[in-house]
Point group: C2
Chain length 242, copies 2
């Protein structure tokens, strides 16, 4: 794990790093020396590790005492796009424009990335937990949309993750992994989401095996999650990881 830059503002330190071919960012509270709970932040499709929404959530969680890490998903941000992924994305966009079922198209794209994404996150988690300011403490995962599509197989495979905030995605391709998730989950739904049919969202919430799971639905389209849900998620992680 190689750190490439370090800046500090508003009480939060932001450090860019690479782990092999994986570029990432780590946020910690200024002055943090001891171990602390860690939140993994998965970005949405077409976004990257420093997408404004990712950075704003990360800084809020770090200000709340957490260590936070985001990485570029395969084919996203600074990472190369392989020809197969480019073909899948083009096909997905054409299908969406032609009015095909978005659930199937999006699930195909996520399915292509999931294997590498899960391996990336597990390697980054191991590396980050070796840092003094993180340590082997409790871990949460937060990801919406594609961040949920890659998060569900990750959480199903990774016993170190003990709580998760997921959502903005349907059940397509995820039912089996969701049925292996038993940690507490907060699940966000946008009630008028034009990309994710409501029934598909509710079915993914249903498929989670967690006894402690709460669905939060708000009016508006895919991108309209109200800012107070970040505060609510911070309290959720504080309750389950602190």
């Amino acid at each position: 794990m190689r750190f490439t830059s370090r800046t500090s503002s508003d009480g939060v330190i932001e450090r860019f790093f690479t782990l092999g071919e994986i570029p990432g960012v780590l946020w910690t509270p200024e002055g943090a020396r001891d171990a602390r709970p860690l939140i993994l932040l998965g970005h949405g499709g077409g976004q990257h590790k420093t997408h404004p929404g990712v950075v704003s959530s990360a800084r809020r969680y770090a200000a709340g005492g957490f260590a936070v890490v985001a990485i570029d998903a395969p084919g996203h941000g600074e990472r190369p796009k392989d020809a197969e992924f480019a073909r899948i994305v083009a096909q997905m966009r054409a299908g969406l424009a032609a009015g095909e079922d978005p659930g199937a198209l999006v699930a195909g794209m996520h399915g292509h990335l999931a294997g590498r994404a899960v391996a990336d996150w597990r390697a980054v988690l191991t590396a980050v937990q070796r840092l003094d300011q993180v340590g082997p403490g409790p871990v949460g995962y937060c990801g919406m949309s594609m961040g949920c599509g890659l998060g569900v197989p990750l959480i199903a495979a990774e016993p170190r993750i003990q709580a998760a905030v997921l959502g903005l995605l349907g059940v397509r391709g995820l039912a089996e992994d969701a049925g292996r998730i038993t940690v507490p989950v907060r699940f966000l739904v946008q009630w008028d989401d034009r990309l994710v049919p409501r029934e598909q969202s509710l079915a993914l919430f249903d498929a989670l095996a967690s006894a402690d799971k709460t669905l939060h639905a708000n009016p508006g389209d895919h991108g309209d999650v109200p800012p107070f849900e970040v505060e609510d998620s911070l309290r959720f992680f504080s309750r389950h990881l602190s």
Copy 2:
């Protein structure tokens, strides 16, 4: 308004009162002298103003700085049951036992009480706002199940109510009044509610005209709302009434 008793414990003062034929309870923080936001607490069917769940929420809200009032709904608690209400309840119980649609049966019972319940709440609200420790400040309403069924027509009719926590009830008989509600609403759903079909709950959330409304769904049956939702509701009221 006539106060009949006053006790104080754990920083909260509890005073029983009657307003005409309406028996009620007022909770305020100890030492409260100035005006403060008020929460009206509507109990569930078959319950009353000092049902354990009502008292525990009331004390939590009062400890959080609010004035809180609960009254017995018509035909409940200390209030007389008229013959017509007794007939409707017997019919409802027989129908539920026979496997009839609970939504229609429950809506019939609420419909019978709603007119009187709305008038009671409006009279109590006017009386309580004359007290120095309450005053004419912001008002919230909190009611689940029957408390929601009587709350929806109340909020639709009462401009002094500026935020509400509702839920555990379906849309039957309430769509029109729900479409007149525009204040911020938190709406609770129990995902495995055997009394309220899920689709009927989601349809009531849908019918609310509020731009700011959030649905919280948790696993479990009608009575299994997790305790952390009371804390969440307190934060919701603090955000909108303080």
